[in-house]
Symmetry: C2
Subunit: 203 residues, 2 copies
Amino acid sequence: MNAKERRQQLRIALIDAAERVISERGLVHLKARDLAEAVGCALGTIYNVFPDLDGLVLEVNLRTLILFEATIAAAQERAGGDGPEEAITDLTRLAVAYLAFAKAHPLRWRALFQHRLANEAAPPDWYLKEQVRLFRYIEEPLSRLCPYLHAHDRHLLARTIFSATHGVVSLGLDEKLLSLPPATLQGQVERVVQAMGRGLAGG
Amino acid sequence: MNAKERRQQLRIALIDAAERVISERGLVHLKARDLAEAVGCALGTIYNVFPDLDGLVLEVNLRTLILFEATIAAAQERAGGDGPEEAITDLTRLAVAYLAFAKAHPLRWRALFQHRLANEAAPPDWYLKEQVRLFRYIEEPLSRLCPYLHAHDRHLLARTIFSATHGVVSLGLDEKLLSLPPATLQGQVERVVQAMGRGLAGG
């Protein structure tokens, strides 16, 4: 194994170790020292592979986004039919899949939103591209629901619908704030997306 | 000044000092040592007045809720008329006031959601009561929009509408995630609340 291969192997071992910490204990428990110990390298060696821990967290968050995409792609069988009701059904199914994902992977899901880059830097392009790709799952039924929207406006509205759904899921799952019983929460997610969908179809 | 009065004076000085730190630097910078120094007492003396820093943060968060209530009470002049459009206008005005408050007081607003009690304890009743009181501002136009709702269901839906609005405001103001220009963000808040309102009125 040459140096480049060793480096690549270490890189993957570090992402795996960080993924375990984030999904089992949460982002706040991620410490370089523990990671070095987990993969059996010196502390400084981590920084030969990643400029800082942020780079490592972004890789784990990318895996979370990809895992989430696999979940919604599975929930993506269309209802059949091109009317507004079918588009609303599809939007609702996406929102319910988001809730299910957040419940199934609470800590790695939270890490997507907790993580802040040093110096208020924006995430790198490869990460933003994955986010944009995910919004397309919302844009597709939205284009059937509101065919009059221009692409820019549809993109913006898809983000807003995501944000609204995220708010209901996030506060609804938060035991300290507005925690709701699981069945009630899913009912509220469905209700709010259906109401938005009907309001948009009518407007 | 007797012991009880001194204690009460110290209590208020500590809340004032914590409020300054939270609103100027953010919740993560709140340290007992700095507070003791700011009010000129020994570190241990804080814990004669508050069981822990959580109690102090709750007092600051209560002040934030009261400040927010003053803002929305001012935005509360009714549009006049009892139809669904007026109710939607009133709900939209509340959501826009929420966005304006979050922008005007970003750090103390974030503290409302960042703060976690030790041992996953639920907030005390006096704090929860203030939250419930605030939801009534949403319930009032909602009762005009959806007169068919039972009280329990209306209360639940008011929380859900708040959570959806919070999601759009929170992610829209988050520079790391989905940050939007101010005018666009306000437009999206209005749009999502209007769509929800129309969907609810129609359903």
